[in-house]
């Protein structure tokens, strides 16, 4: 009797139908088991109901041959109505099931290897339990087919029989403890010492930008820490009990749950190994989304995977998805007795092993023939793996990470400049690669060094029992796979295809980006009221507060006094720089304190007569053009600076409004060394802009801001068109992340840093 006949008029509930295996299974049932009805539990997602998602699924290419002209069904809806019943629901809260089910295939599950511990238990253990309870409620002897994983064997070695995993871990205790971790870790993260730690780290980076920016970063750090801890806890618990990670651990405990119910329901447990793209059905090379090996294959093809901590002779148990689906169908038709659950290993290792070295050779051969076309530099150089063993790869990686850390420290301390930014960008690329390596090595090194062999006698027996052309339709004997053909002709082409398409787009986009990089779009006059806010020091002209202070004070001093003043500033420099990194406000106050006793009128006069030319000479031509462009477009131009008011005098004609630090004066017009209000830095600038916008009806989303330093991050974030001008490394990174415009406004090379107006300048 063929499978189609055996499963005729059966109603099969499939969970996880939108997943990789579920989708392939649905495809096979519709195509090859014409008498079988599918019931799918689908979780509503966003505004889409389960039914919508099913409709979406059926619109995919692989389902198209099933409806339309020349088929029984006019369209997807007709097909769906005839063969599929959709139940909206979630496994965390399984809905009531139809009373006429014959078979349940549970292939939903968390497939990531490093889920947070509570999520792993929810889906793999508790979800399974509540599904089974619902099945029992139907009161029928439903055949329950549980899709597990071959790696429930954990860190065991050698031949693994198709039998229950041998362990004594109590799943109830573990589930309870695991679920409790969520609140425990959450609570821990909110303790004063932890919060203080997060805040200190955040402030180190963001204090200059302001308290709120630092606070936002603190909270981000906390949630990140919680997530990381939950994953770590899961992995460590799994390893402490002999499993590779939380995924296989909870999957193994899930099997225990299933086994407990095997007295009430006839139960089959299917344990596939690493499921990859299809050999034949739906079509050769078919794969959905990225599975385990794909990121590594792609990274290798891009030349970014220098080495991998695998044993060259360890067997990598890859199986094509259609074999898994074939086996599941055969299992559905093979109902075991009550209390005698059957186990099926779907792997390739025992009869047609693929070693890691062969896998590597296949992938390498593929990319040698079909390299990625990444840019104008020709094919990528493919790394040659020497398989030095896990430890030395780990050492290599650790060395790389440490080197990166040191380089990063240096790059954030050295003076900014075009070259610094270039290095920073290269470092960021390096960092991304290191993170990728770290993540995948941690996840997969266990698997790549595994020495297991999954016995698959039961599956082979299933395959051999298939009758007639079922042997073709539901083939599940992996011995037939020619791995080199599979890798080079099916799998690699299939997984790289989308990447290649994306590369073409990316190449085009990068080219466009490179052409427009550093070129600002012309300002268009707009209906709305728009402002253009500019920072001064470092943005419009290369200068800093210490320098400008010296410009202002030196002209009125004589020789020895000048030397004294410069000496005093030099002595204080380390302290000042430290203060500047911490809090710009305090830093400004320290400098401005030194204005005590200066005559404000005289300062104005010095600026007008001596400094104006110096300031104007150092103005960046591009900056002035941009300001004037804004004015011409009818925008309101605003200069927001922490510099003292007199210094902005030469720029007055360019701006509609200038917000600067006001030196407080006594009744004789002499500076007291204090400011008449707090200096406008960091978040105060953003606050000022927002308030100003509210008052004068300005549309900030259409407005512009130009600044150079990390402390201006809040101001830049408040407007719709932020521009980072010759930014420091932190702002550069933030700007790149947010895809802001980055321009380099150079101070003319003709001006000299060492020339002091009124002192040694012409």
């Amino acid at each position: 009797m063929s499978l189609a006949d055996k499963l005729k008029d059966k109603k099969v509930l499939v969970t996880g139908v939108t997943g990789f295996v579920g989708e392939a299974l649905l495809h096979r049932i519709i195509g090859e088991l014409p008498g079988t009805t599918v019931v799918a539990i689908i979780r509503p997602k966003g505004s889409l109901t389960g039914t919508d998602r099913m409709a979406q699924l059926l619109r995919k290419d692989i389902f198209k041959p099933f409806y339309g002209e020349g088929t029984e069904y006019a369209d997807a809806e007709a097909l769906s109505a005839a063969r599929i019943q959709v139940i909206d629901g979630d496994l965390s809260d399984v809905p009531e099931l139809p009373k006429d089910l014959d078979i349940v295939v549970h292939c939903a599950g968390d497939v990531s290897f490093d889920p947070p511990i509570h999520e792993a238990f929810t889906t793999n253990v508790l979800g399974t339990k509540s599904l089974l309870e619902r099945i029992v409620e139907t009161g029928r002897p439903v055949h329950y087919v549980h899709i597990s994983t071959a790696y429930t064997a954990g860190r065991r070695r050698g031949a693994i029989p198709e039998a229950p995993v041998d362990h004594f871990v109590d799943w109830r205790t573990e589930a309870e403890a695991g679920m409790a971790m969520k609140s425990r870790i959450e609570e821990q993260s909110r303790s004063a010492p932890m919060l203080a730690k997060f805040r200190k780290e955040a402030e180190k980076l963001h204090r200059r930008a302001g308290h709120l920016t630092a606070a936002a970063d603190t909270e981000r750090r906390r949630t990140e820490w919680v997530a990381k801890r939950l994953v770590e806890t899961g992995t460590e618990r799994a390893r402490s009990l002999g499993w590779t990670d939380c995924y296989t651990f909870t999957k193994a405990l899930g099997e225990r749950v299933v086994e407990e119910f095997s007295g009430k329901l006839p139960t089959s447990i299917v344990r596939p190994a690493i499921i990859e793209s299809a050999l034949q059905s739906p079509h050769p090379g078919w794969i959905e989304g990225f599975k385990m090996a794909e990121p590594l294959i792609l990274a290798y093809g891009r030349g970014e995977l220098p080495e991998f901590p695998a044993s060259p002779d360890s067997v990598i148990e890859i199986i094509p998805v259609d074999h898994v689906v074939g086996a599941i169908c055969a299992v559905m038709a093979t109902e075991p007795e009550l209390s005698k659950p059957e186990y099926y290993h779907i792997g390739s290792g025992s009869r047609n092993p693929l070693t890691f070295e062969q896998l590597y050779a296949g992938v390498r051969a593929y990319f040698s023939k079909h390299p990625f076309d990444l840019g104008e530099r020709g094919a990528v150089r493919l790394p040659v793996w020497k398989f030095p063993g896990g430890d030395s790869v780990e050492t290599m990686l650790r060395y790389g990470e440490r080197a990166h850390k040191i380089a990063d420290k240096i790059i954030t301390t050295v003076p900014r400049g075009e070259r610094t930014r270039k290095y920073a960008r290269e470092l960021d690329v390096q960092k991304r690669r290191l993170d990728f390596l770290r993540r995948y090595m941690d996840l997969y090194s266990e698997y790549a060094q595994a020495e297991l062999q999954f016995i698959d006698d039961n599956v082979l027996a299933l395959h051999n029992a298939l009758e007639g052309d079922d042997k073709e339709k539901f083939a599940c004997d992996t011995a037939v796979v020619d791995w080199q053909y599979y890798l080079q002709e099916l799998h690699c082409p299939s997984v790289t295809e989308s990447m290649r398409r994306l590369d073409v787009v990316r190449k085009k986009r990068n080219k466009a980006l490179a052409e427009s990089a550093g070129v600002l779009k012309k300002v268009e006059p707009s209906e709305a009221k728009v402002v253009a806010a500019f920072d001064m020091d470092g943005t419009l002209l290369s200068s800093n507060v210490i320098e400008t202070y010296l410009w202002m004070r030196l002209p009125e001093l004589d020789g020895p006094q000048r030397a004294g003043e410069i000496g005093a500033m030099l002595r204080k420099l380390p302290k000042l720089i430290a203060a500047e990194r911490k809090d710009r406000g305090t830093f400004l106050r320290t400098i401005y304190r030194r204005y005590a006793g200066a005559d404000l009128e005289e300062l104005n006069q010095i600026v007008d007569e001596i400094l104006a030319e110096h300031v104007l000479e150092r103005l960046s031509g591009a900056a002035v053009r941009r300001i004037r462009e804004h004015r011409a477009a009818g925008h309101k131009t605003i200069l927001i600076t922490g510099a003292v008011r007199p210094l902005t005098r030469p720029l007055e004609p360019l701006f509609d409004e200038i917000v600067a630090a006001e030196l407080a004066v006594d009744d004789r017009g002499r500076c007291t060394g204090f400011l008449s209000g707090p200096p406008l830095v960091g978040e105060s600038r953003a606050a000022w802009l927002k308030h100003h916008a509210r008052q004068t009806n300005i549309d900030l989303s259409k407005s512009f801001a130009y600044a150079d330093s990390h402390s201006d991050l809040p101001m830049l974030s408040t407007v719709g068109n932020p521009v980072a001008v010759s930014p420091d490394v932190s702002l550069f990174r933030a700007a790149r992340a947010a895809r802001w415009q980055i321009v380099d406004w150079k101070t003319p090379s003709t001006s000299s840093r060492l020339e002091l107006p009124g002192v040694n300048a012409r």
Binding site: L616, R625, L654, P748
Partner: protein, 526 residues
């Protein structure tokens, strides 16, 4: 007696010849048969400068002697040429200082106490106090500057301009109010090249944009052939017409001085000697200078060149009525600069030096470099251009992307915004000139800072319109490709490449003329 200028024909015995190349120089081997035009050697200067000045003031041409024009209670204004002359700047004492001191002496003797001194900078940048001091000398500076009696002309100071009327061609004559209302205007000129002086002094030096735009425009400039020959220059014709209007309102006492070609002295004297006559000492200093310049950072190199001051000997001084005085002046200038050249050639080669009229104490930006080469040197002819119609011009200059934001703010914008749209003078004039001329920011900088007027880069571009119109190919040797390309020219790495590039229009063996200046020369092309 000094030797006259001459034309050398390059043969196999000719050593490599010196070519000016911005802040530096090269020794170049020219193809055999190249004609090299050498300026006359420096004329002997007058023996007693003070005596010559006295003589000119007391025995003027077609005018009463100066003392007779001076009387107590009168308004006397002394205008003088600004820092754009002479080039390079003159060693102290500046000739203008000596003339002004003599004039002031006579004025004091006559009991004149309402005296003002104006730097006739038209739309040029204001001079800094130090620069004014260098021109008029410490004594005059101290007596006049603190009281505001020595100042820069401000062409945008509406309240201090006077419209004197229109010429018969309808051109507005608007000049400094003080000058217009003076009982006597004494103009102290330095006539470095044939273009300067005459009616150009007052009618242009003290005029406003309204007045200047009648002759500083692409149409007039293209028809000024050349600027160095006022009788064939449309721009000068206009200035002369304005001069007629001006002199009918104001009594002008013109003092014109002419200088000789003694430009490079001391260790760089070899720059004005003929290469095959270089002594051991000259060769040593040439090598030393070359090496030092190559090793020096750009800023040091710039400083070295900015600090160059020239000896200059006075070859003549004439005073009195503008036109007859200018006749005499031109005679003297021609004596010093004129070189007879037989016929035009297919290719003209010129080395653009480190300084032009508008980058004294500043940097020569790409536009100024173009103007220096194609405006000034190209126009250094009388009769016909050195290069034939549709011939090629090859220039030497690095043409770095370098602008002084203080002195040339509108130049940067002109380069970025205007030249990126068009390089055609007439198009540029029609589309952009008004906007730049009336821009309040440029006007602000012109009036209060040390910036050239917003419209000034346009004038530079009009200066070269005759060359653009006349020449087929313009190629720069060793120049920054990007900047040169923006200006619509091409760049070659070597002279050989440049000749290769122009060969499609002038052939494989073109006739070549190399203008070996500075020192200045005026090619009299027959």
């Amino acid at each position: 007696m000094s030797r006259p200028g001459f034309v050398l024909e390059v043969d196999d015995r000719t050593p490599p010849l010196l070519v000016h190349n911005g802040e530096g120089f090269l020794l170049e081997r020219f193809p055999q048969g190249t004609r090299v035009v050498y300026p006359p050697e420096a004329l002997p200067p007058v023996r007693d400068v003070d005596e010559a000045i006295q003589n000119a003031l007391l025995n003027p041409i077609e005018s009463e002697p100066l003392p007779e024009l001076l009387r107590p209670g009168m308004r006397l204004t002394i205008a003088f040429d600004d820092i754009s002359l002479p080039l390079p700047p003159m060693k102290k004492p500046d000739i203008r200082q000596r003339v002004i001191e003599a004039v002031l002496e006579l004025a004091a003797q006559a009991g004149v106490d309402d005296v003002e001194l104006i730097s006739a900078n038209a739309l040029h940048r204001r001079l800094t106090p130090n620069e004014l001091r260098e021109i008029v000398g410490e004594r005059v500076f101290r007596s006049f500057f603190p009281d505001g009696k020595l100042y820069n002309f401000d062409a945008e100071d509406r309240d201090n301009l006077t419209h004197l009327g229109q010429t018969r061609h309808g051109e507005d004559v608007e000049i400094s109010k003080r000058a217009a209302e003076s009982d006597l205007l004494v103009y102290v000129n330095v006539n470095l090249v044939a273009m300067d002086g005459g009616h150009k002094s007052t009618s242009i030096g003290l005029a406003s944009y309204k007045s200047l735009k009648h002759h500083h425009n692409s149409h007039t400039m293209i028809h000024s052939r050349s600027f160095m020959d006022h009788k064939a220059s449309k721009m000068h014709h206009s200035a002369w017409r304005m001069g007629e209007v001006l002199t009918s309102h104001v009594k002008v006492f013109q003092i014109e001085t002419t200088l000789n070609n003694d430009i490079f002295g001391g260790p760089i004297e070899f720059l004005q000697k003929r290469e095959w006559e270089w002594s051991i000492k000259d060769q040593a200093s040439m090598l030393g200078t070359k090496r030092a310049l190559a090793a020096a950072p750009a800023k040091v190199r710039h400083k070295i060149f900015t600090d160059v001051r020239s000896n200059y000997g006075l070859t003549g001084i004439n005073a009195g009525s503008i036109e007859p005085v200018h006749e005499k002046t031109i005679e003297a200038v021609h004596r010093q600069h004129l070189v007879e050249v037989q016929g035009q050639s297919d290719v003209a080669i010129m080395g653009v030096p480190f300084v032009g009229p508008y980058n004294v104490n500043s940097v020569m930006n790409p536009i100024l470099a173009a103007c220096m080469g194609l405006g000034y040197y190209f126009n250094s002819y009388r009769g016909n251009p050195v290069v034939r119609k549709d011939g090629a011009v090859i220039l030497y200059h690095p043409v770095d992307y370098e602008f002084s934001q203080l002195h040339h703010p509108s130049y940067v914008d002109f380069f970025e915004e205007v030249l990126s749209e068009s390089t055609d003078p007439a198009t540029i004039e029609a589309k952009f000139e008004k906007q730049y001329a009336e821009d309040p920011w440029y006007i602000h900088l012109y009036r209060t800072s040390y910036a050239y007027h917003g419209v000034h880069p346009f004038y530079m571009w009009y200066w070269i319109s005759h060359a653009l119109d006349h020449c087929g190919d313009i190629v720069w040797v060793g120049a920054n490709r990007k900047t040169v390309e923006r200006m619509g020219f091409r760049s070659a790495s070597t002279l050989q490449d440049a000749l290769e590039m122009v060969s499609h229009s002038v052939g494989r063996s073109p006739s070549i003329t190399y203008l070996h200046n500075p020192p200045h020369l005026l090619a009299d092309v027959r």
